[in-house]
Every structure is written in C-alpha cells, then in structure tokens.
C-alpha cells in the first residue's frame, strides 16, 4: 500500500480464522489502520487484495461487519435513540427492530433514561457506550475494533472486554487493532505485529512467545544479588526485582540452590516465566 512516494504497508499477507480474536498490533504509524481501511475498501490497495469470506468488502456486506474506527464520532446534536437507530438501519436492521435493540442496549449499559437526550449532553464515558452500541447493535459476525479502548475509562474498558468475549462466545470473529499488549494477552488467539508496514510477528500468542522470546527466571528479593557468570546472566535488574537468563547446560534447580545459599540475599519470590508480549514488542522496537 503506497501513499504517493511513501510505501506504508509492504508485502503483507495474513489470514483471520472464523471465530477467533485476532490482534493486529504495532506502534503508531506501523500501518494497522491503513490495513483495516484497505480491508474495508476505504482505501484502494496499490497491489494485492484483501478479502472477507472470499470477497472484497462492499457496503452491501455491512450487516455482517461491526466497525469501530480509530477516528470515531456521532451526531452530537441528535438524540441518542435517533442516531443509533439510523446506524442500525444502515446495518440492515428494520427500524422497529433497531429501536427495540437500542432501547435494550441502553438499559443494559445504564443509559435507559438517556434515549431521547442529545449526545452532546452525555458525558464522554456515556458517549463511548453509545458508540460501542452502534458497532454491535446488529450482532455482526465480524467485529473490527480499531484501538477500541483508547480513551476509555476503566468501567467502559471492562464493558468492552465483556462485550468482545460475549460476541466471541456467540461465534463472532474479532479483529482487534491495538498497541495495548495486556489486552492482547487477555483476548487474542493469534496476532500479527506490524513494524514500519512489514510483518514482524505472526501466529498464535504461544507461537510468538516461543519463537521470539526467551524464558527467564524472575525474582524479587531483599539484599544483594550475587553475580555468577557460570550459572546465569542478569538481563534486567531493579532494586528489588531481577530477571536472569540461565546458561546452557545449567538447570533452574542449580540457580535456585545457589541463590538460596547466597549470603546477604533474601529471596521473596522465584518464578520461571516466558516473556510478555509487551517485552517482545519492546525488543522488536529497540
């Protein structure tokens, strides 16, 4: 995908399986939103194709897709009910069905008494709930959520997480565009990480961790952590926390026994863990 002389996304190929939560990750400007906009035919790809169920996206497929764009907004001077029904009908619902669903949704998210109020009179958090409702009202089989938790307060973030899980439970496929790795760890089955428009990571979360991360010993302690180049190297050290990579041929037991017997060191916790996606992300972007 090219904008003038600048190539924004290069040689990208990926598949999203039905019923999974797929994380599209990357830092700002990595090409995530461009990829989604191209998938939804908002941009014409310079070359290649992006298909949904074997077809290029067309607005006639709107009933199956719920899209929460990165740049989002609603008609601030219109009543909540009118706005939501408008988008509901646009996504293939009948007016009466849309109205019924809107009222039920507003009740569920605690906005039952706001249906006839203008959006501008609602708080930011309440507007976010309305926005989310517009995205899921027609129960789409594919949800594309571009930075969905950006600027969400904790209550709405939790609500969104529940809704994503609920939709997934109903068999919906979710494409989650984000740079929040903790959300990816909680929700995603598979991920694609873009770096400068190029595919840097692709696979299940486990596969990515196995391929791109090193298992480390994480420990919390008091006192002085001794050096021992024969057994391990210290990869990260804070005043009371450290991560150690053990040497080849050395077992975790050997490291534990050494540290347990070390003078001036009191171990609080000792854990063997795989790296987080956040760590892999940071490593890739170093």
């Amino acid at each position: 995908m090219r904008f003038g002389p600048k190539e924004v996304v290069k040689d990208l190929s990926f598949a999203v399986h039905q019923g999974e939560v797929f994380g599209l990750l990357g830092s700002n400007g990595a090409g995530k939103t461009t990829t989604i906009r191209t998938l939804l035919s908002l941009f014409e790809p310079t070359s290649g194709t992006l298909l949904i169920n074997g077809k290029r996206y067309d607005p006639s497929m709107a009933a199956m897709v719920g899209y929460l764009p990165e740049e989002r907004g609603l008609y601030r001077n219109e009543p909540v009910l009118d706005t939501m029904v408008y988008f509901g009908v646009m996504h293939g619902l009948s007016r009466s069905d849309a109205k019924k669903r809107v009222l039920a949704y507003l009740e569920r998210v605690g906005l039952g008494d706001k249906a006839h109020e203008r959006l501008i009179s609602l708080s930011n958090g309440q507007q976010q709930k309305v926005q989310l409702g517009v995205t899921i009202l027609h129960e789409p089989s594919l949800m594309i959520l571009d930075e969905p938790t950006e600027a969400l307060d904790p209550v709405n973030r939790s609500l969104l997480m529940n809704i994503i899980n609920e939709q997934r439970g109903n068999g919906a496929t979710v494409i989650l565009v984000t740079h929040r790795m903790e959300e990816v760890e909680q929700l995603c089955d598979r991920i694609l990480l873009l770096k400068d428009g190029i595919r840097a990571l692709y696979g299940t979360v486990d596969e990515v961790k196995n391929t791109f991360g090193t298992t480390v010993i994480a420990l919390t302690y008091n006192g002085t952590l001794p050096m021992n180049n024969k057994l391990y190297t210290i990869t990260k050290q804070l005043p009371h926390y450290a991560e150690l990579a053990w040497r080849e041929g050395v077992t975790v037991d050997q490291v534990l026994r050494f540290l347990a017997g070390a003078p001036d060191l009191h171990l609080t916790t000792f854990d063997v863990r795989r790296p987080t996606l956040n760590e892999i992300f940071l490593t890739l972007y170093k």
């Binding site: 607005p59 709107a62 989002r72 517009v134």
Partner: protein, 406 residues
C-alpha cells in the same frame, strides 16, 4: 437511501435555525406587502403622476362610450381621441399608438379595456392604472354632475375593473402575465439557493466534523449517500418553498389590487404555457442539482463547514452574476455577455431561467443551455461523490482537486 433521507430531513426540520431561515424571508415579504397595502392611496396618486409622466412621451389614444371622460383632461394629458374602438386597436397594432383606452357604456358593470404595445418586462408602463385613473379624475373633476349620476357615484366608491391586451408585432401577446408562471422557477431558484446553500455545504462537512464519515462509508456506498443528501436538500427546499408560497398565495388571492398587482390581473388570468413551464422546471431542477453537487463536494473537501463556507460567497456570486446583466438578459438576449452567461455552466441556470421567463429563448438556445446545465449537474454530482469518497476521511486537512482526480 430512505433511511438517509428520513434522518437528514427530520433532523433539519427539528432545528429552529431551519424554520428561522424559512420564515424570515416570508416576514420580510409580508412586511413589504403590508407597506404596499397601507400606501394604496399614495400609490393611486403615483399612478396619476406616472400617467402624466409617460403620457408626455408615450402616444396614447382613447374612445369613450360612457360619456364620463373629461375631454379637458384628455387634452391636457396629450391623449388623442380615436374614431372608434376598432380604430384605436388598429392604431396600437400598427404601432401608431403605444396604448389605447376604451371606456364602455357602463364602466361599473363592464371592464375598461386597455390595448397596449408589449414592451417587455422591464419597460411596461402602468397603463391599467392610468386608464382607471383617467376615469376617476374625470368624475372627480365635475362633482356636481357626478352627484346626480349613479354610475359616477359607484366609480368613486369602487375602482372599475380593467382588462389589458398587449400586442407584439401586430399580434396579440400575453404581455407581463406570461412571465409569471415560468418566472416563478427563477424566483424559486434564487430563494432556495440562498436559503439552502449553507445546508448543502454542512451536509458533508458535518460528517467530517462529527467523525462519522468512516462509519458511513463502510455501511453505504458514497454515491447512495450523496444521492440521499441531495434528495434531502430538495425535500427541504420544497418545505421552504411551501412555507413561503402558501401565505403569499393567500395574500395574493385576498388582496390582489391592494398589494400592487396590475388591475384586472387574477391568478386565473395568468397564462400557463406548457413549453416555458417545462423548460423552467428543467432549468430549475438541473441548476439546483448542479449547485447542490458543487457545494456538497466543497463540504467534503474541507476539514470543517466553517472553512468550506469561505467558498460559499464565490459559489453564490457566480450563480447570481446574470442579475448584474439583467437588462441585457431581458432586452438584448443576443449580446456577447448574455451568450456567454447562457452557456457557461455556473451562470447558465439563472440566465436560462430569466430568458425562459421573458420569452427571449429559441428552442435551440434553450436546449443548448439545458444540455450545458445537465452536463454541469452530472459533473458536480460526480465531483461530490468523489470528494466525499476520498476527502471525508481526511479529517484535519483540505483535499486538493488534483488528489480527487487521481
């Protein structure tokens, strides 16, 4: 598309600003008509003054079967006395006279007949008022005789009816009345364009400002959306026209003479010629479509309605330019400037509407101008669709024409 039209129309109708914009011109017009109504008497005096003014230059004849006309006044106003009614009419047809007034035996039950040369919309003198005034002044000039004459008393109480017939090149023409039906399209075009221009711009600029464009474009085709918005603009235009026209029509029906309509002219007497009305409707719809497309496109190109509105003045001036050449458009339709205005897309709608109204259009010229306007409308709507399709997601910046054409 029905969903878009429903949403766009009802949200506009719910806005106070829409109704303020719709009703304000009506208030002004009614105010002017009210002033006209209350100054009827002074208008009568003006008519007399005008009569004297143009009788000095115009050649007017009269024939009196009523016996009420003062020959002293006739002589004083340089009006000639014709041999009979037929001679007077023949003199107008041949161009010897500019106007001829025939006073029937009983003006209280029969209309005064005015026969005049058709001099076009801008130069038509108020002959009807002059004919009526001559009779009125004649009766007033001899009050003692008038007091003994029932007819004269009735004439003093109520102005007699006047019917007018105009001739162009010796053939009866419909005169000023024929301008009214097709002329309504020109007035409707001007009024709607002014009232709806900012709505046209904000219909797309608002989507950018509200950040709704992306959600819309994934739910509906850009051309369906733009078509829905344009139809909404037209529906709102009809609402505004009805809001303006119904009260005005009521006033015209109830107080035709008091508000300055020519004596003898009623709604029923307005000629309804199919060709000018049909062309008027086509020029009106195609012209409005072209400017709607253009302004909707501008709205999609700019990051906000405020920025897009800077070009509103340019769009309005270009549409209204033919007004500055009104005299030429009406009286000298084949000058170079009128020809350019007739076939230049932005000035063509109003020029065509005016020329169609005053009858200075040949069929060939009308079809040529219509073709230009329809082509302009197609290009403008195409531009609007493209501008929204590719400009609506450029939230913070203006999209250049070159980018849209790429």
């Amino acid at each position: 598309m029905g969903n878009i039209i429903n949403f766009e129309v009802f949200r506009a109708l719910k806005k106070k600003s829409f109704w303020i914009a719709s009703i304000t011109p009506l208030v002004f017009i009614l105010l002017v008509l009210g002033i006209e109504y209350f100054s009827t008497k002074s208008a009568t005096n003006n008519a007399a003054q005008q009569e004297q003014a143009f009788s000095a230059t115009a050649k007017i004849g009269e024939f009196d079967d009523s016996g009420l006309i003062s020959q002293q006044l006739v002589a004083a106003q340089h009006i000639t006395v014709e041999q009979n009614k037929d001679a007077g009419i023949a003199a107008v047809k041949s161009g010897t006279l500019d106007a001829f007034f025939y006073y029937p035996k009983d003006p209280t039950t029969m209309s005064i007949e005015v026969y005049a040369a058709d001099t076009g919309i801008s130069l038509s003198p108020p002959y009807n008022a002059a004919a009526s005034q001559l009779l009125h002044q004649s009766v007033v000039s001899d009050v003692s005789a008038a007091a003994k004459n029932d007819q004269a008393v009735q004439i003093l109480e109520k102005s007699p009816a006047v019917t007018a017939t105009t001739y162009k090149n010796g053939v009866e023409s419909e005169g000023l009345a024929s301008v009214i039906a097709p002329g309504i399209f020109a007035i409707a075009f001007l009024v709607l364009y002014v009232l709806l221009a900012s709505f046209m711009i904000s219909s797309t600029a608002g989507e950018k400002e509200n950040r709704t464009a992306e959600m819309l474009l994934t739910s509906i085709k850009a051309r369906t959306l733009i078509a829905g918005k344009i139809i909404s603009v037209f529906i709102l235009g009809v609402v505004q026209l009805v809001t303006l026209a119904v009260p005005l029509l009521a006033v015209l029906l109830l107080f035709p003479q008091q508000i300055g309509l020519p004596a003898g002219m009623t709604l029923a007497s307005i000629p309804l010629n199919v060709a000018p009305i049909l062309f008027g409707a086509l020029f009106f719809v195609a012209g409005l479509l072209m400017f709607t497309g253009l302004l909707v496109g501008f709205g999609a190109m700019f990051p906000s309605a405020t920025e897009a509105s800077r070009f509103l003045g340019v769009a309005i001036i270009s549409a209204f330019l033919p007004i500055y050449a009104f005299q030429n458009v009406v009286n000298s339709p084949h000058t170079l400037v009128v020809t350019i205005f007739t076939y230049f897309p932005l000035t063509a709608p109003l020029t065509a509407l005016l020329r169609n109204a005053v009858g200075s259009f040949s069929i060939g010229e009308a079809l040529g101008s219509l073709a230009v306007i329809i082509a302009g409308a197609i290009v403008a709507v195409w531009f609007a669709v493209r501008a929204f399709r590719y400009g609506a997601m450029e939230y913070g910046r203006r999209v250049g024409i070159k980018e849209l054409l790429r």
